[in-house]
Amino acid sequence: MTSAIEVRGLGKDFGHIRAVDDLSFEVAEGRVTGFLGPNGSGKTTTLRMLLGLVSITSGTATFGGKRYADLDHPVRHVGAALEATSFHPSRRAEDHLKTVALASRIPMTRIDETLELVGLTDVARRRVGKFSLGMRQRLQLATALLGDPEILILDEPANGLDPQGIQWLRQFIRGQAAAGHAVLVSSHLLSEMEETVDDVVIISQGKLVLQTTLADMAAQAGTGTGMRIRTPEIHRLAEVLNAVPVGWHQVAPDTLVIDGATPEWFGPFAAQHQIVLYELVNERGSLEDVFLRLTHGFDASHPMAADSGQSAPFLMPGDQS
């Protein structure tokens, strides 16, 4: 497996603020790499450094060993879709693509091809100012694809897309990887990317938290398996659970989760203590849980961060009630 993108010790200072710090990761050919982190974690800055839009304070970012600016006609090697706003409103969609095609000596036949690929054929002659956010997002993708690049960089491409659009985007991204292309796609929501990515690069506060495969991360998530129990006798259940060596936490006034428990163990246990149960669910920890565990506490804007100290009204393991 060859790396299409190599990032080594990348750093960026904005004044005294270190936006990206000693970041290293690789993006492999034929795979989709999710670039994940909370809002403000440095994802967009990193992508823009890769593409030569933001100057690099330290480290390197290369495509097959070359900096973006050193590539010959870069948009024919690296396609980037960065934001949904960068069009002149009175320019028609096909003219926008034509300005890119002319400058990079891309055959004009690619314009119709890419418009068709992203489903904008019908509005090719419409001015971009009249486009919806979702249409702009598609035109941005068309721009990225125009040069038939072997590497794609997509910054939050799902923003502004409707559910069908997101479904289409997933298939599109998978198709690109299947064709042997390398795709680096950023998102602040892992759940959005779960079905799409092969590898994950997780950053928080400009630092690498984890680079791994999605399979590895799923295995980690598996360790969070437990049972969710709803019962009218939650105090008595807490009492009897405290007498055995299992971890648990309360998630609602009448519900708690027992770590690592199985129905085979808990069913007889509840019967033995004659506890009434309303609900008994086998619960797998989600990837999102792992993602939040890895990144949360850093993102002040995330609701989970605010919730983290808020267990006071709930029973805690060891509480005598």
Binding site: F14, T44, T45, R48, L51, G52, L53, V54, S55, Y68, A69, L71, P74, V75, A80, L82, E83, T85, S86, F87, H88, P89, S90, R91, R92, D95, H96, K98, T99, V100, L102, A103, S104, R105, T143
Partner: protein, 256 residues
């Protein structure tokens, strides 16, 4: 570079800029022709119309001060990219920012020259028709084309280059337009009325020299000028100087 220039030409053509500029050019030139025919030299009496070589050249070159539009064209070509954030795509396509600015400079020179040609045509048609209607000679006016056109068109091209230079430094569209117009409409006039010797050094003086047209200096003060090629080089120097500074600033600029 030809690829970049073709792209730049398309970019301009797919905005309202050329149509607005052409419209304003017709309007300005029409008014200036009207001013010539209503001026006291010809008294509006119909018994005298522009007929001397100098009068005919002044009529044909009546749109000369439209070089301000050529300047705005250059300014808009670069600031419009920042205003609408199309610069992100442009820098992805042309990551070397000196190449980006160079492409704009060459394209601006071509389009500025075209604007000059357009204004000459407007003056030839508008002035010529008015002239014939008043008993003057259309062909006498047309005969002045070889004398007037080269310098006229050259100055328009040079002003568009200067516009790109200014725009590459002041990428904020409003700021760039205010500074450009502020200089050419107000500051330059104040400066040169205080220091007459400065006139040949300022862009307007250099443009006057480069155009090789003797303009009416209504205040009766004769202001010294460089030769046409010295003036042209000075104008080009201003444009390229600003463009080099602008490129250097753009190279360190983060596009976020």
């Amino acid at each position: 570079m030809t690829a970049v220039i073709r792209s730049e030409l398309l970019k301009v053509r797919t905005t309202a800029v050329p149509w607005v500029l052409a419209g304003v050019a017709v309007l300005i030139n029409g008014l200036l022709i009207l001013v010539i025919f209503l001026s006291k030299d010809y008294g509006g009496t119909g018994d005298d119309v522009p007929h001397t070589t100098q009068q005919l050249r002044n009529l044909l070159g009546s749109g000369f001060s439209g070089y301000i539009l050529a300047l705005l064209l250059g300014v808009l070509m670069i600031t419009i990219e920042f205003r609408h954030k199309t610069v992100t795509t442009s820098f992805l396509v042309t990551p070397r920012r000196q190449v980006f600015v160079a492409g704009k400079l060459i394209t601006a020179a071509v389009l500025g020259a075209l604007l000059g040609v357009f204004m000459l045509v407007v003056a030839l048609v508008g002035g010529g028709i008015t002239l014939s209607a008043r008993g003057g000679s259309f062909s006498a006016l047309a005969h002045q084309i070889p004398a007037v056109a080269p310098g006229f068109i050259l100055v328009f091209a040079l002003f568009s280059i200067l516009g790109v230079g200014i725009g590459s430094i002041l990428t904020n569209q409003v700021a760039a337009i205010i500074v450009s117009l502020g200089w050419f409409i107000i500051l330059e006039g104040i400066l040169t009325s205080l220091v007459h010797a400065a006139y040949k050094w300022v862009p307007t003086g250099a443009a006057d020299a480069a155009s090789n047209l003797t303009r009416n200096q209504g205040n009766g003060i004769h202001l010294a000028l460089f030769s046409w090629w010295e003036g042209a080089l000075l104008m080009l120097g201003y444009g390229l100087f600003f463009a080099v500074i602008g490129s250097a600033l753009l190279t360190t600029r983060d596009i976020t």
